[in-house]
């Protein structure tokens, strides 16, 4: 061979240490950074956190300045309901990152490093869960802090349930939305299919269960349980002590939530063909 060209150095030996622990934190940080550069993700997160979250907190403060002495559960639960759609949008955009990794070559890079398949999937899942949860949990915390700062009188059981219940509700929704988003990403062929499938599926089911079936079976509002949105909304009654006249029992809601959540996570854990080494890691779409 000819002499080494100018600007190209010789190959050095690595003499430093190498860590043997999991690369989980690095994967999560990387995924969140990638997400933060996705415009759809930013739009969903900013609208959720900014418009609904910050808007609700500002509304709460405004009521106080207008002379209202006490606030109610209603505004708080409405905020949670609205935030759920934005959290769902965040999960729907973030979950298909699994597919994007295959298309962009990142999966090949991850799996050819000392990163176990379990750590890779867990890192991706944690990033999606963190992003989804943040859209709901952060407004819950801000709302509670604002209520303490501006009001002396609170609804019954506010201190006991507002934060704990709000975070629990956020977790329930996150587990469902993130699990399904990741699960769909593992069986879909294209990222856009997974995103539209999840968000559109929830919308269609909600519309069908609350409107179409309601119109056809006018006396039977319990069909609303078929909407994941309505079903998980039933947890309001249980967590915050409201909605005693709910259309269907809590157990039904719990069963639907459990079935969909388990389905989503199971799909991700067992049906990612490229992570399972069943398909070529690299994929052109």
């Amino acid at each position: 061979m000819a002499p080494v060209p100018e600007g190209v150095g010789t190959y050095p030996r690595w003499r430093g240490r190498t860590e043997t622990g999991s690369r989980l934190g690095i994967i999560v940080a990387q995924e969140i950074r990638v997400l933060s550069q996705n415009l759809w993700f930013l739009a969903a997160a900013v609208l959720g956190l900014g418009v609904v979250g910050a808007g609700s907190v500002m509304e709460l403060v405004q009521y106080r300045q207008d002379g209202l002495a006490a606030h109610s559960w209603d505004r708080y639960t409405i905020m949670l309901d609205q935030l759920r759609w934005f959290a769902l949008a965040v999960a729907a955009v973030a979950g298909p990152g699994l597919l994007e990794d295959a298309r962009r070559g990142a999966l090949e890079l991850y799996l050819s490093r000392p990163v176990s398949r379990r750590a890779y999937l867990l890192g991706k899942a944690l990033a999606v869960v963190a992003a989804t949860l943040a859209v709901m949990a952060l407004p819950v915390l801000f709302y509670y802090v604002a209520s303490l700062a501006f009001y002396d009188e609170h609804p019954e059981a506010w201190h006991a349930r507002a934060v704990a219940g709000g975070l629990a509700f956020s977790l329930l929704w996150t587990a469902l939305a993130a699990g399904l988003a990741l699960g769909l990403a593992c069986v879909a062929r294209r990222a856009v299919t997974a995103t539209v499938g999840l968000f559109g599926g929830f919308l269609v089911l909600h519309f069908a269960a609350t409107r179409l079936l309601g119109d056809i079976l006018t006396e039977d509002a319990q069909w609303q349980v078929l909407s994941p949105f309505s079903a998980t909304g039933r947890f309001h009654a249980w967590l915050f002590g409201t909605g005693a006249d709910a259309a269907f029992p809590l157990l039904w809601a719990l069963l639907l939530w459990g079935a969909l959540t388990v389905l989503g996570w199971a799909l991700m854990a067992w049906r990612h063909p490229r992570v399972r080494g069943e398909e070529p890691v690299r994929r052109r779409m």
Partner: protein, 306 residues
Amino acid sequence: MRSLSAVECERLSRWYGDVIALNDLSASIGKGVTGLLGPNGSGKSTFMSLCVGLLRPSAGRIEVLGEDPWDNPGLLRRIGYVPEAPAPWRHLTGRDALVRGARLTGLDRNDAGRAATEGLRRVGLAEAGDKLVGAYSHGMQQRLKFALATLHRPELLILDEPLLGTDPLARRDLLHLIQDMADDGTSILLSTHVLPDVEALTERILLLHHGRLMAHGEVHEIRDLLDQHPRTVRVATADPRRLGAELWSWDEVLSVEADEDAVTVRTRNAAAFYARLQDHLIERPGFTSVTSPDDNVEAVFEYLVR
């Protein structure tokens, strides 16, 4: 199956549905540089994916540096892999991509920064380190992938078409980098369908075609197995016409062509021809070299696949 080979496989097969990508491959690839040759769709990338543990064998076994590569992070600390796909993380700068790659490989934060700087310098990207990977040319991306794969000083470097689409300058630089690593003791498995690339680095090749192992060994050894095909030998001499006339009478010779400074002979029995030629040339000074154009991998490949 315990071996000192870099890669050893036994009846290794990999299929996707009805498509067989790799079929019953048994081979032992020693340390040093080995070229993995074959046309597109011959199973090269599948074989490399199996070597790195990106795919699981459908049948058979594979060991890399004595270990099963499937879901084996410990082994991956000893391997560097340059995939064919474009460099990932296009939204990061070259430096950040290397730092992230180093962190994933197991280097701590400080070491990762140092390794990234060193990696950029080594592949000639020091000045482009703060540009986004997405803005890199193809050649620069290939260099970056090379740096990513070698940050941790692997014992075995697996390169999937590393020179594909590179300009002559980038090609030359990458070949130097690969040669440099080989000189430093790193075993290298290099796939390509551009045969002279491999020829510049090694004589040892493994030929795949339609997922099957077609040949494995030194280029000239493989060629020797093909004595049923006429072999071309070129003898440079001061008097080509005279030598040509003498060689024409030999039983081993099929044809003779003489030009201004050499005789080109086609023979069916290369071994016998070489033995006789050696004695003949000793008695007749004035020849300058004996070469066989058929000893290059391109010729071997042509013979084997057609």
